[in-house]
């Protein structure tokens, strides 16, 4: 159908075409739009899976846009890490879209087009091979996410979005300064070409280059939610509508990906005097973020906010692992990344289903952190049609427990394996230093905090006296939750195969020579 060498560009072109086509359609043609969006989301999952299989078999794929060779032309590069994350984003996209089809997509205009553009930006950011296009795709995904965060409107959403947009626009400006400095020193923007030139940078220019790299890092870390750059995150994600928040779970991973990609490729062991630049800062920041997320989870009262702080904690875990620059640790962190993202996304959806049956007042009482005082924005769109599932609370409770187990890292699901692999990699380091022990302690503490926070919410909702009303949940709304949880279960059952893939990913990341050669076609 599609020539296999063009598979790399499909995750960018497909959502772009689908989103653009839906912009042409009238808002009243709901059915047609839903059909196009669902078809595009399914096709994206298939294409991303095919890409991952191809990359795993044939190695890194380079796609020359306009057929100009790198570093002069613009290239898309799909290695295992990119392909894996594109697939993860596609699965989240499918889940959040099918959840939205039940009712949320009617809550505001242009939901489907924005949803597709967000997927396009995320895929592009994972696939691009040069820094400036990374910036452009960041802007594409941010612009779509600004609008999606506002989806459904309401005071809280508008105010948190205002903060979200202001912080991220400022971060984008920092990003641009970083790009400009790197270009000024190395004369190139292609990540592989930068990697080639970093060791040869004159000592006098090195400070300028490192300043540029540090600014890039700050821009990425704002997206990743590193403490103290993460204060916009919990409010925005908790206020966003459930399908939007479920998709936002992958946005922090774009920041983590960018840090991992640029630091390992351009500032890895082969970078001469700049080898490992900034790694200690990222590791320390990651540990602080993990601690902040842990405390935040305990301090929050409503479920979306707990999950948002859970995302902060998982970002912290990943960044700490990235900063420690250990191959086994990177592999384990990637496993944890996939498992925790799937579970956090599912939890955002479950949270909306759980809150649905409650009396409007109950929420205000439960929320002490709402600084605006009135929570009238949470009215979901009406029109509750379709079959609701029997034994709703039992099914919902089971789903909630599964997602909570993954997020807390308790057996038997993928979260436990992820944390176990991280702990194992930490203990297996050649010389476990203070950072390793701190991370080990914080990982265990954050698991405990997560189980306390989720347990408290679960008890209040599922075991309290049933005067709050049972939520009406339609089967179609439960399908995406089940999809995400089944994906977690598959990840657990197929952990051997997944870890083989992820360890190969980590190995290629820590030896970026192959990536650089493929991109620049060094004979």
């Amino acid at each position: 159908m599609i020539p296999p060498e063009h598979l790399v560009v499909v995750p960018v072109v497909l959502p772009l075409a689908a989103g653009a086509a839906m912009l042409m359609l009238d808002e009243r043609r709901v059915g047609l739009k839903a059909g196009i969006a669902l078809a595009a989301a399914l096709a994206l999952v298939v294409a991303a899976a095919a890409l991952a299989v191809r990359v795993d078999a044939d190695g890194t794929q380079v796609y020359r846009l306009g057929d100009w060779a790198a570093p002069f032309g613009i290239v898309l590069v799909a290695d295992r890490l990119s392909a894996l994350l594109v697939l993860l984003a596609a699965v989240l996209g499918l889940a959040s879209l099918s959840f939205a089809l039940a009712r949320w997509h009617r809550a505001g205009p242009r939901f489907h087009a924005l949803h597709q553009f967000l997927l396009m930006g995320v895929s592009g950011a994972f696939l691009t091979g040069d820094l400036f296009n990374l910036f452009v795709f960041f802007e594409v995904l941010l612009a779509a996410s600004y609008a999606l965060a506002l989806h459904g409107s309401g005071v809280v959403r508008v105010m948190t979005s205002l903060h979200y947009i202001a912080v991220n626009v400022a971060a984008s400006l920092v990003f641009l300064v970083g790009i400009a400095l790197v270009y000024a020193v190395t004369g190139t923007l292609n990540i592989a070409d930068v990697a080639l030139r970093v060791p040869a940078v004159a000592a006098a220019d090195r400070a300028l280059l490192e300043a540029g790299a540090a600014l890039l890092g700050v821009a990425f870390l704002v997206k990743a939610g590193l403490w103290p750059l993460c204060f916009w995150l919990p409010g925005t994600y908790a206020a966003a509508s459930a399908p939007a928040a479920a998709l936002f779970a992958v946005l922090t991973k774009v920041g983590v990906y960018a840090v991992l990609r640029v630091s390992q490729t351009a500032f890895g062991d082969g970078a001469g005097a700049s080898a490992g630049f900034g790694a200690a800062w990222v590791a320390a920041g990651g540990l602080a973020t993990l601690a902040f997320g842990t405390v935040g989870m305990l301090a929050s009262q409503d479920l979306p906010r707990i999950v948002s702080y859970g995302l902060v904690a998982s970002s912290g875990t990943l960044l700490a692992a990235v900063g420690l620059r250990d191959e086994a640790l990177t592999g384990a962190a990637l496993y944890y990344l996939v498992a925790s993202t799937l579970a956090a996304s599912a939890m955002f959806l479950i949270a909306e289903l759980m809150e649905r049956g409650r009396a409007p007042g109950a929420q205000i009482l439960a929320v002490t952190a709402e600084w605006l005082g009135d929570a009238e924005d949470n009215e979901a769109p009406e029109r509750d049609v379709g079959v609701s599932i029997p034994g709703t609370l039992a099914v919902l409770g089971l789903a909630f427990a599964s997602a909570a187990l993954v997020l807390a890292g308790l057996p038997p699901l993928a979260g436990f394996l992820g944390k176990f692999l991280l702990l194992d990699a930490l203990l297996g380091r050649a010389a476990p230093d203070a950072a390793s022990w701190t991370m080990l302690g914080l990982l265990l503490a954050s698991g405990l905090a997560a189980i306390v926070a989720f347990g408290r919410t679960g008890i209040r909702r599922f075991w309290a006296a049933q005067d709050e009303g049972v939520p009406r949940v339609r089967v179609v709304e439960f399908v995406p939750v089940a999809l995400l949880l089944v994906a977690c279960a598959v990840l657990t059952a197929e952990a051997g195969g997944a870890m083989r893939f992820l360890q190969d990913t980590a190995r290629t990341l820590h030896a970026p020579g192959g990536y650089v050669e493929r991109v620049l076609e060094v004979p």
Binding site: Y146, L162, L176, A180
Partner: protein
Amino acid sequence: MNEIVVAAGIGVLAASGVWLLLRPRTFQVVLGLSLTSYAVNLFIFATGRLRTGAAPIVPPSAGANPAAYADPLPQALVLTAIVIGFATTALLLVVLLAARGLTGTDHVDGREPDA
């Protein structure tokens, strides 16, 4: 001399922008972001080195000396950055108006600080 003027210009724009960005009124924040983005755009421009009277387009004649021409890449980058900056500022203005309408105040927190 040229360099000092450009550097001072970027510095003044960035400083004013950051100061406005930290102000409590939403419109000041938008202006601050705009000023900072002007500073950043000029900065990107400057990374191609400051040249006067040099064309960015090299003619196809053989043996052209690249040192005689301005670097075209930062100019292309600035163009993209300007377009993206416009778009996000426009979006921010819409959200600003929505926030003003919904909360009745232009304070960034959505309410007046308790006096």
